[in-house]
Symmetry: C2
């Protein structure tokens, strides 16, 4: 069956209720009469919607006497899948879902300009021109990874935005460790590595006046069920399934990440990122290591000794000078 | 005559050549035959275009024998007016002109997202919802002031962007001093004052990844020929014409500013803003003065002693501590 290209703009206050009822009653029957009463729609309208869901890959049994029963869900991260599983306040009240999109960050920026509220998510099963840092490409074939962009409107000065990237890295790293048991580590500022190979990338973009942020878009890409990578990436990138030798549940991973992100975000606004910074230091693979920093016009080596309050990496050079690094590539020596 | 609402997207390589010829030969005749030959258009096409210009307010004499002669130009800052007067390389290759627009910065941001090149200008005779810093209103009635937004794509880290605001303030302040003889001064970070009243505001907005700028939009509003201000602004704002008692040439002022901006910008990219910072210090009315800083959640007083390399204001408090101020309002005591 060819995949249909679907895009959905959904509001948590106005979900696809039939799908929500089926998801919340998984393995149990939901009677057509109940649905009809609860939703105030006709039996034939329900039948039509059930068939729509079947076309998307939901296996739904129907029995004239018992009603409908969800037997199997497709590997799709539809908004209702998130809402039925996640405990979230800020994130995901509005979700824009795409079976395929150029780049979730580009879409999120457009939505932010049109006034999308803080917490809006853009979720895609596939990105056809996914972006990494510095305009680099990010490979994300259909239904293999997690591609999500978060729109935030924090009351912060622009120079504080790097801390949001650290926070995102902490949430992603903790979630991966918790759900897989793998020793994921953060490479400053925004990569998650396992055994030295990249498993997750974060791209933070801001729109700001000089002293206030208009919006932040944080894009997160996690390599979950990719079973191969292009030749040129094979030494540097991997996926959770390649390491574990099994397919993972992308929905659970995304929901876990979003819950972790939201709780860290709420805490950070209260304690000014104190706990996030402490956790980041523990999860980092840079600190205490000899690193080489490569920027556009310079490169130098030294020991990564800490990050400072603004999220810059502090590197002590051999001559004892300490450099604050805001940008550039870091390689471990 | 009611003003027509005009918008023009113009490219320096493809100007309205008839207007350019008339502007460059002001007071002299340009023969219809010459125009016809140079531009490869018919005499009747020229006649039509001349009439278009007349409708916009250009007084053009025509003589069957001698051709066309520009007698008087309306008070409009059309792209051709800029091109025929200004020596610019980077700025103004593309100019988007509006007789009326909501906000030049909003328009410039949209153009930047669609890929408008560095140096693109948005010029408007009037803003109906002009913006100042922190979402404040900026009053700009038709044909009274200068409303221009500059799109730049410098290879800089976002934390360096505040220096572009300082540069803009230096260019505006110098141009006003040079063309009017008035003692304009810069109030940190982005206001130009004369005798304590605001004459010019600057609003810098950036779109960035954490370590590189996508684009910067710098909006500049100068009160030139305003002859009154709303009651609530009368103590805080003024215009050049109210001070001088005469109407000023807005085109000359804009061209002078753009030339000054471009030369300071080119220099700053070479010397890392060294000269701009030196000039800023000299033009500032803050340094060496007692100031009160008012932010969202705090306020304090002290002596403004300097700006640092990132453009932050250094304020020495009574207890000797030095605060780096990135945002907030500064009032002189």
């Amino acid at each position: 069956m060819a995949e249909k290209n679907i895009s959905i703009a959904a509001d948590r206050d106005n979900p696809n209720l039939i799908l929500i009822l089926l998801l919340l009653n998984k393995w149990g029957y939901v009677s057509g009469e109940d649905i009809s009463k609860k939703l105030g729609v006709t039996r034939s309208a329900i039948w039509k919607q059930v068939n729509n869901l079947r076309e998307m890959g939901y296996e739904i049994e129907s029995s004239t006497r018992l009603g409908y029963r969800l037997v199997n869900s497709p590997d799709l991260i539809l908004p209702e899948e998130i809402w039925s599983k996640a405990k979230l306040e800020l994130l995901g009240k509005n979700i824009h879902y795409f079976s395929s999109i150029g780049s979730t960050n580009e879409k999120a920026k457009k939505l932010a300009i049109s006034g999308a509220p803080s917490g809006t998510l853009v979720v895609a099963e596939q990105q056809t021109s996914g972006k990494g840092r510095l305009g680099r490409q990010w490979v994300s074939p259909s239904r293999t990874g997690i591609c999500v962009s978060i729109i935030l409107r924090p009351e912060m000065a622009p120079y504080e935005a790097p801390k949001l990237t650290l926070l995102t890295a902490v949430a992603a790293c903790e979630t991966i460790r918790k759900q897989t048991g793998l020793l994921a580590q953060i490479k400053w500022p925004n990569d998650i590595l396992i055994d030295g190979k990249k498993i997750c990338g974060i791209l933070t973009e801001i729109s700001a006046e000089l002293d206030r942020i208009n919006y932040v878009v944080i894009g997160i890409g996690i390599n979950v069920n990719n079973y191969y990578f292009p030749e040129e990436l094979i030494d540097r990138a991997t996926s959770l399934s390649l390491i574990l030798g099994r397919k993972l549940n992308r929905k659970e991973l995304l929901v876990g990440f979003l819950e972790s992100f939201e709780s860290h975000y709420n805490l950070a606004l209260k304690d000014n990122f104190k706990e996030v910074m402490t956790k980041w230091r523990k999860l980092s693979c840079n600190l205490g290591r000899h690193v080489k920093i490569t920027g556009k016009a310079y490169s130098f080596e030294g020991n990564a000794i800490d990050i400072d309050d603004e999220g810059a990496l502090l590197v002590k050079k051999d001559n004892g000078e300490i450099e604050r690094v805001f940008s550039g590539d870091v390689s471990l020596r």
